[in-house]
């Protein structure tokens, strides 16, 4: 780097100034154009599918040669606008939405119950084998979700064979799988805040006569709260969006929304799925904005998805 830098300085001083300046200007311009095009391309690729789903959900049915063609329903940009698909969301999808919501709410709550003390212990305590304990908590991130799905299904069968209590295809069964998936995210976000935590704040509270519980409640908790909110949000979204685990642990007539949508895309596709998907997108956006309002965008970003 240094050598080429020196060379560049040499050529800059020996070359005739004007053409060099012009060439640089042109190079910078081309570089800027390339950068902008690259950014635009990546963002278009990332966001276009969302726009297309929302746009196509307002698309009226197109008739081709006298009969409706299933895939020609799905049109973007839409030819006629209609809200009809929003009224035609099948009951199975609404039930699935309700189930997904309940599971995600419960799973994110339980993930916090598990994750906050775990993060406090992992960051604050020092004991032999801490690295192993820490990687055990992170294991659900490393194991492919499909593997977790089949593993929990086998576990439920084994427990069922022993106790006659089969929890696959039940609310509890789904919930356990989702808590397993979601807990590492809460641990991740809370740990990342705790690592920057100034311990003197707690010492000050203790010296000033606060009890340990009082210190925790009035000093520690408020500081880590953004991490808890961010973790709960990630946990909610991980649970709400999961397909593989829910596919194994759910059952016919007891599927979460993404699984229901997955099956509807593989088989009997209806454009009303676009409508329900748009509802979910708006809901996710509102949730993200709400949490962003509470803890601020930089706190949300700093947690880097809890990984």
């Amino acid at each position: 780097m240094m050598r080429s830098g020196a060379q560049a300085v040499l050529t800059a001083t020996t070359a005739v100034p004007r053409p060099r300046w012009r060439r640089m200007r042109l190079g910078t311009l081309a570089g800027a154009a390339l950068t902008i095009a690259w950014m635009a391309g990546v963002y278009l690729y990332m966001l276009m599918p969302l726009v297309v789903v929302a746009g196509a959900s307002f698309s009226g049915a197109a008739k081709k040669e006298g009969f409706y063609v299933a895939h020609s329903y799905v049109q973007f940009p839409p030819e006629h606008l209609t809200l009809a698909w929003y009224g035609a969301i099948p009951a199975a999808q609404l039930e699935a939405l309700l189930l997904s919501f309940g599971i995600a709410l419960g799973a994110s709550f339980l993930a916090c119950v598990m994750g906050v003390p775990a993060a406090l212990g992992l960051v604050r305590a020092s004991f032999p084998g801490k690295a192993i304990v820490s990687s055990l908590f992170r294991a659900p991130l490393q194991i492919p979700a499909v593997v977790s799905g089949i593993a929990f299904l086998q576990l439920y069968y084994a427990v069922g064979d022993l106790t006659d209590l089969y929890i696959n295809g039940t609310f509890i069964g789904l919930m356990i799988g989702h808590v397993f998936l979601a807990t590492p995210f809460v641990i991740g976000t809370v740990s990342s805040i705790l690592q920057r935590f100034n311990l003197r704040l707690e010492e000050a509270a203790l010296t000033l006569g606060a009890s340990r519980w009082g210190t925790f409640r009035q000093v520690t908790l408020p500081v880590i709260m953004p991490g808890v909110y961010a973790g709960a949000l990630y946990a909610f979204m991980v649970s709400f969006g999961d397909v593989p685990v829910s596919m194994f642990l759910g059952g016919s007539g007891f599927n979460t929304y993404p699984v229901e949508l997955f099956y509807s895309m593989e088989g009997d596709f209806s454009p009303s799925s676009l409508a329900s998907a748009t509802v979910v997108m708006v809901f996710s956006l509102v949730m993200l904005l709400a949490v962003q309002r509470i803890i601020g965008l930089d706190n949300l970003l700093r947690s880097k998805g809890g990984r």
Binding site: M1, S4, G5, A6, A8, V9, A12, T28, G31, T35, W38, M39, V42, Y43, M46, L47, M48, P49, L50, V52, V53, V74, F76, M114, L120, G121, L122, A125, L136, F137, P140, Q142, I143, P144, V147, I150, A151, Q154, L155, Y157, F180, T183, R212, F240, G241, V243, P244, Y257, P258, L261, F262, M265, E266, V280, S284, L285, L297, L301, G305, R307
Partner: protein, 284 residues
């Protein structure tokens, strides 16, 4: 005080430990039985499923496709994402926050919905094909659904947002002053990027590549929907074997193969990376 923090760990640790070990043990145990139809398992322990996997060219092909598609997708994701992460990290305006928020937003939407949109764009009479036909770039509609290109596109799509956020974090750890020093010494922007930024980010990028590769190896939804049942990756195969063919033991064996190959590939590449880095230090 110290003892108490350790105690807080006890409850979550026990729950996680029991869930993790019991589920992993049960499925590994289950993979050593024979399927005898209708979801029932044979009584005797056997390694038959694994023997079948490693002697059947079909299964080996599935494993090959999974590794190849994941490696390609991870490479594309890193190449596409790194410049974006770099530009956002070096922006001085509030736009950087907006750009990051857009990525976070898109990563919060269920993958099924996003793949839904991707399919609408890429399907035979979809927006992209109509546009290309109109431009005259293609004569026949081209489709990526149900072929390898589709699977790689789907996996890239699945991991792009995550990898930008990851690499944004990496770029942020590199002080801006180093780049300014390079520029003061007369290096061009591209020169600074190539000779200062890239070498400093390389360790982070390689770890990022491995993380993205892991995600791709385990990705089910995007691979299943864009593979269209014609390109089968290991996660898709596991789902089909268990839920469609009702072969729990074979499915468990496939899952074990997936888990072990992910772990092995990671371990081997980490060892190679360490060797490589050590060797470079000696040369320098």
């Amino acid at each position: 005080m110290k003892a108490r923090w350790g105690l807080m760990l006890l409850g979550p640790f026990l729950v996680s430990f029991v869930l993790l070990t019991s589920s992993q043990y049960m499925f590994l145990h289950g993979s050593f039985f024979a399927d005898i139809g209708y979801g029932r398992l044979g009584a005797d322990l056997t390694a038959g499923n694994y023997l079948r996997f490693f002697s059947d060219p079909f299964y080996l092909q599935v494993l090959n496709i999974t590794i190849l598609a994941s490696a390609l997708a991870a490479a594309f994701t890193i190449v596409a994402g790194f410049p974006v992460a770099y530009v956002i990290a070096r922006m001085r305006s509030r736009w950087s926050m907006v750009l990051l928020a857009m990525i976070v937003l898109s990563s919060f939407i269920t993958i099924v919905i996003k793949i839904f949109g991707l399919i609408i764009i890429f399907q035979a009479d979809g927006s992209l094909n109509r546009f290309l036909l109109w431009l005259g770039v293609v004569q026949q509609p081209v489709t990526i659904i149900g072929n390898m290109v589709g699977v790689v596109v789907g996996l890239t799509y699945f991991t792009l947002g995550f990898s930008v956020l990851l690499m944004y974090g990496i770029v942020q750890t590199i002080p801006r002053s180093l780049e300014e020093a390079g520029q003061i010494h007369g290096a061009s922007r591209i020169g600074v990027f190539r000779q200062v930024v890239l070498p400093l980010c390389l360790p982070g990028i390689t770890i990022g590549f491995l993380m993205v590769f892991n995600l791709c190896m385990g990705a089910f939804t995007s691979a299943a929907l864009l593979g269209g049942g014609r390109v089968l990756t290991l996660p898709v195969m596991i789902q089909r074997t268990v839920l469609m063919e009702v072969k729990y033991a074979m499915g468990a064996s496939l899952a074990a193969v997936l888990l072990v190959s992910v772990l092995t590939i990671n371990l081997v590449s980490l060892v190679i990376l360490r060797r490589f880095r050590a060797a470079r230090l000696v040369i320098a």
